[in-house]
């Protein structure tokens, strides 16, 4: 990598290790020997991107192909960006140090709406036109995937195509297609038409969008043979699907710097606010044997001293105790710590809690999400106060003195009593500590309450709901602050400004693309970072385009409104979501998928359907 134009910049920035590459496990190939160069871009810092499991899977998978060299690209931090612009150094990929603009595929993983300006910034730093229509060559092809691909409309003009759903199978099919078209010398237009025929490929340029006078959507019409609805891809069998036996081991300390075992995809719970719980359906578990074998290989290959179990709700994994026994049998002698995040307060096995107590390093975290039973029923978070208390009491007996509780503010139907209920629940936990006969001697308790602002998301029963305004969220946060009495409770509230922007883009349409580009041109980037968000620039960008963000955030949609993501098919039927919304208003709960099938529609996403084609059945 010597003599690359970015090398002189490395000595001048904070944390040069973000930009050097060369980590253990990173792929080195001969550029002359591969047919495709693939730049996998994570639109946030190295430390965040390197913590992401999906990137590790897709990176390993693409590099398992001999004809493809997949490299990593992260958003340069502010100091590096300034130097790159000052000296005219274009964005490069970490493995080769080569400029990103020369790659065949530039793939962005879209994890979070607040990274959208970073996407534009990275395209610009690469020296590419932002708009897909202005990139006329077949390559580089700019593609996007990840959870935000379920409503990619605000990004539609910038991307050539999106891959809704899981990427393992479709990204290989797409690379094959591109390789063939590149060899045949076809143009981009023919390639995109062909790509749109692959199940799970959404080519936004092949969909025309019209609007009603009131600003809502009138129609989304596909053309040139593109399917009217694009069905997301799912991997049918997790035991048989690819999982890396090696990770790139960073030198820098990243957010999650450890080996990861994926237990299952999907979630049986159906919490109504949780987009992930619906997007990743149907539930598919990996067998304990596979998890054990993959985890051991990964720890051996990386030298990691920590293994983390990953899923949306670890304590729902059917074979959790046998799995842990199997893991600990080799992890203990090898001095590998096994961490078990994402536990529910209602079903942590006592044996697990005892086991965790032995390696305790931090506090125990639970997410009651709402302060009263009524509101927990509305959101279908089927946890009772008694269950929370009995779990924390067991934790106190096990020596824990710090408990973290996560809540949301601004949930549908929320009243002031529900907000006060958050403080009351935290106080109950404090009281439970002092009344507990087996509490740790000579120590106080620390209850950390963390509240996020509720953001309604597509493909959830709350997708039609208005989001609280900034003023309302501020009032509720102030009310909560005023209600907390104990010094044993510490309270932190998430930045409402960031949540409101997130809310606008989560349920936004294509008209937001202009606002996004304007805001980026004005200097917005790293909007998810409290210290970087420039709300003034965002407000000016919305005003200049005469778009009111409240149209997207604070407006209640009717059940029959055409939504910007209705032409995406995630298996979940609109009928089911509406049924769940109506049950929410009645504070009626829906049991977990294990107890009774709620009829969400995700069962249609079986392997045979993915093979049969993406012309989705109309289930709305």
């Amino acid at each position: 990598m010597t003599g690359k134009p970015h090398e002189p910049l490395l000595a001048l920035v904070q944390k040069p290790g973000r930009y050097t590459g060369g980590e253990l496990g990173s792929a080195q190939k001969d550029p002359a020997a591969v047919a495709l160069r693939y730049a996998f871009c994570f639109p946030d810092t190295y430390e965040i991107g390197m913590s992401h499991l999906g990137m590790k899977i897709l990176y390993g998978l693409a590099n398992a192909r001999e004809d493809c060299w997949c490299e990593r690209v992260f958003a340069p931090w502010i100091d590096m960006e300034a130097l790159m612009r000052e000296r005219g150094v274009p964005l490069w990929a970490l493995e080769s140090g080569d400029p990103v603009a020369a790659f065949d595929v530039i793939g962005f993983t879209l994890q979070y709406e607040m990274s959208y300006t970073n996407v534009l910034n990275m395209l610009d730093l690469a020296g590419l036109p932002l708009r897909a229509a202005d990139r006329t060559g077949l390559t580089p092809l700019v593609i996007g995937g990840g959870p935000c691909a379920c409503n990619p409309e605000p990004l539609a003009p910038f991307f050539d195509l999106f891959l809704p759903g899981e990427g393992e199978e479709v990204s290989g099919e797409l690379l094959d297609l591109l390789k063939a078209h590149k060899a045949a010398g076809t143009d981009k237009r023919s390639f995109l038409r062909a790509a749109a025929q692959l199940p799970g490929v959404y080519v936004p340029a092949l969909y025309d969008v019209t609007y009603q006078p009131d600003g809502t959507l009138a129609a989304v019409t596909s053309r040139d043979g593109a399917p009217p609805r694009v069905r997301k891809r799912v991997v049918a069998d997790l035991d048989g699907s690819y999982f890396p036996d090696n990770f790139v081991v960073p030198f820098l300390e990243t957010v999650h710097d450890r080996a990861v075992a994926e237990l299952f995809r999907g979630c049986v719970r159906g919490c109504r606010f949780c987009q992930a719980g619906f997007l990743y359906r149907p539930i598919r578990e990996k067998s304990a044997g596979t998890v054990n074998r993959q985890s051991r290989a990964l720890c051996d290959a990386t030298g990691y001293e920590e293994l983390s179990l990953c899923s949306l709700s670890t304590s729902d994994y059917a074979d959790l105790i046998p799995l842990l026994e199997g893991l600990l049998a080799w992890a203990d002698p090898q001095r590998v710590n096994v961490s078990v995040p994402s536990l529910r307060a209602d079903n942590v096995p006592p044996a697990l809690l005892e086991r965790l107590a032995k390696e305790r390093r931090s506090g125990l975290t639970f997410a009651p999400e709402a302060g009263t039973q009524r509101l927990r029923d509305v959101i279908n978070k089927n946890i009772t106060e008694e269950q929370v208390l009995s779990t924390v009491c067991r934790a106190f007996a096990g020596g824990w003195t710090a408990v973290k509780l996560y809540f949301m503010i601004g949930l549908p139907t929320e009243t002031e009593d529900d907000v006060r209920g958050i403080a009351a629940l935290a106080q109950t936990v404090v009281d439970a500590f002092y009344h507990h006969p087996a509490k740790p001697k000579g120590k106080g308790v620390q209850v950390s309450v963390s509240t996020a602002c509720f953001v309604p998301k597509p493909f959830t029963p709350f997708q039609w709901e208005p989001m609280d305004t900034k003023e309302r969220l501020a009032e509720k946060q102030a009310l909560l602050r005023g209600t907390v009495r104990s010094r044993k409770i510490s309270l932190s509230c998430h930045h409402a400004d960031i949540s409101l922007l997130e809310g606008a883009f989560a349920r936004g349409d294509r008209r937001l693309a202009d606002v996004l580009e304007d805001a980026w041109r004005a200097g917005c980037r790293f909007d998810g970072w409290d210290d970087q968000l420039r709300l003034d620039l965002w407000e000016a960008a919305f005003a200049a385009r005469e778009i009111d963000p409240c149209f997207y955030t604070a407006r209640r949609r009717t059940f029959d409104e055409l939504l910007p993501w209705d032409h995406m098919d995630y298996g979940i039927s609109k009928r089911f979501l509406r049924r769940e919304a109506e049950k929410a208003y009645a504070a009626a709960v829906t049991p977990s998928c294990r107890e009774r099938c709620a009829g969400c529609g995700a069962e249609r996403l079986s392997l045979c359907e993915a093979k049969a084609g993406s012309a989705g059945s109309s289930s709305g």
Binding site: T2, G17, T20, G21, G22, L24, E253, G303, R335
Partner: protein
């Protein structure tokens, strides 16, 4: 339990790995290599693995020591082979020895410094000026030190910490080899010397060896 000293080198883009990140990378490499580390006893057992003289960020080294304690008597040759296979790009394992001297016996270090210039004339001019200033003595630098918990800026005499040097222009670059005080009592980062000599950005610094109080190689 057996103490071993592993000698290693750092080159290329690995020079951008900070000291703490190098410690972590080495610990993981030793684990991958299957070298049976000895762990401290107590409530939070941790492996015994220390670096007698941290290498600053951005500098290469031809030969650095790392001390560790292992549980079994794995032969030195086997430790070296296994570790060499487990290290990431830019870090190399050179030799395994028994520790002879302690970290406190490190007194000086040799550095090889390459300073590029846009043109030979500029290299020659800088070399002449820097040569005069080195010969005259009295070079100083501001260094952030600690007084209790407070951070204080103090002036240190670079000339007193510098025991030998050779400086020459060579095409459009200057080459400086220098011996500077190193270790726990007095330590001088060569970057401070370059700054005092008004060297341009982009100098390549490589530590070539450590010495004891007698000027012999630290072992």
């Amino acid at each position: 339990m057996r103490p071993v000293r592993i000698w290693w080198s750092k080159a290329g883009r690995a020079k951008y790995i900070s000291h703490l990140d190098t410690v972590r990378a080495m610990t993981r490499a030793v684990r991958r290599a299957g070298i049976p580390l000895w762990y401290t006893e107590g409530f939070h057992p941790h492996p015994y693995l220390t670096f007698p003289l941290p290498l600053p960020l951005g500098q290469e080294s031809l030969r650095e020591p790392m001390d560790l304690r292992i549980e079994t008597d794995l032969p030195d040759g086997e430790i070296l082979t296994r570790l060499a296979a487990a290290l990431p790009e830019g870090l190399a394992a050179l030799e395994v020895t028994a520790p002879v001297l302690g970290p406190g016996d490190i007194a000086a270090a040799d550095y090889r410094i390459y300073i590029p210039f846009p043109a030979p004339e500029e290299a020659a001019a800088w070399t002449a000026r820097a040569g005069e200033r080195l010969a005259a003595g009295g070079l100083t630098a501001a260094k952030i030190g600690k007084q209790g918990h407070r951070k204080v800026e103090k002036e240190i005499s670079l000339s007193a910490l510098l025991s030998a040097y050779r400086l020459a222009a060579e095409g459009s670059a200057a080459r400086l080899t220098v011996r500077l005080a190193a270790g726990s009592e007095q330590n001088c980062n060569p970057a401070l010397l370059l700054e005092a000599l008004d060297a341009p950005c982009g100098a390549e610094i490589c530590r070539t060896g450590l010495l004891d109080k007698t000027g012999a190689p630290w072992r």
